[in-house]
Chain length 141, copies 2
Amino acid sequence: MSTNPEAGFELDPRLAADTIQVADWDLCRVLLMNDAQFPWLVLVPRRRGLAELDDLDPGDRALLLQEIQRAMQTLRNAVAYDKFNVGALGNIVRQLHIHVIARRRTDAAWPGPVWGYGRAVAYAPDARDRLLTALRWAGDG
Amino acid sequence: MSTNPEAGFELDPRLAADTIQVADWDLCRVLLMNDAQFPWLVLVPRRRGLAELDDLDPGDRALLLQEIQRAMQTLRNAVAYDKFNVGALGNIVRQLHIHVIARRRTDAAWPGPVWGYGRAVAYAPDARDRLLTALRWAGDG
């Protein structure tokens, strides 16, 4: 038996297609949703076969909570925002993933949710690279 | 200074108007959204002046995580579901509150989010009372 808790973890192909990898934290792969309309991180615990929050074992659950806070702090340090939206839905992609989104009163979907809001608008390469740099710097704090 | 951590807590009037009280757990007031389209609990930490998840102090944050799991288990014991949606948005009601929703592939909003989905359909009194009884029973487990 493998003792590597990440054994068998594979990022869902749809999440992979819609995002850009920012970092790997202790538990989660940290992804930036490739949608310039919303500063939007997605945390994916690198564990196999998870769908619901309580599929995580208690230690990982506590770690997830810390990493959600770390994602909030990362966004705080990198972008302007009025409110965070944090959610675990999984209606389309079943692999457990947690959205952490910095919402602005002036954003396209406000005050509605971002999920199901029209089409993503991909970042221009320059803007994407600047944001990734800022997020990686902020996330190390 | 008061040592009562609930001092000054008042449920937001909009949350109060849209929901029915199920119970008070250690940290949260547990509410049932009065929308028969979705089995939908709302957890409101009984603390004053919270808006974001990381406004909670660390002990309360751990308790919130436990109560989110308890809400999921409560719904599991009371209704049929395919997937949970858990979210903290607060774009409209700023008081920190966490949605825990039992989603079904056949529900009106699937696979979209429930937030911003049309108008609530209030429970018929009988159905509401049966569900409240089931939730209170299940939530004590």
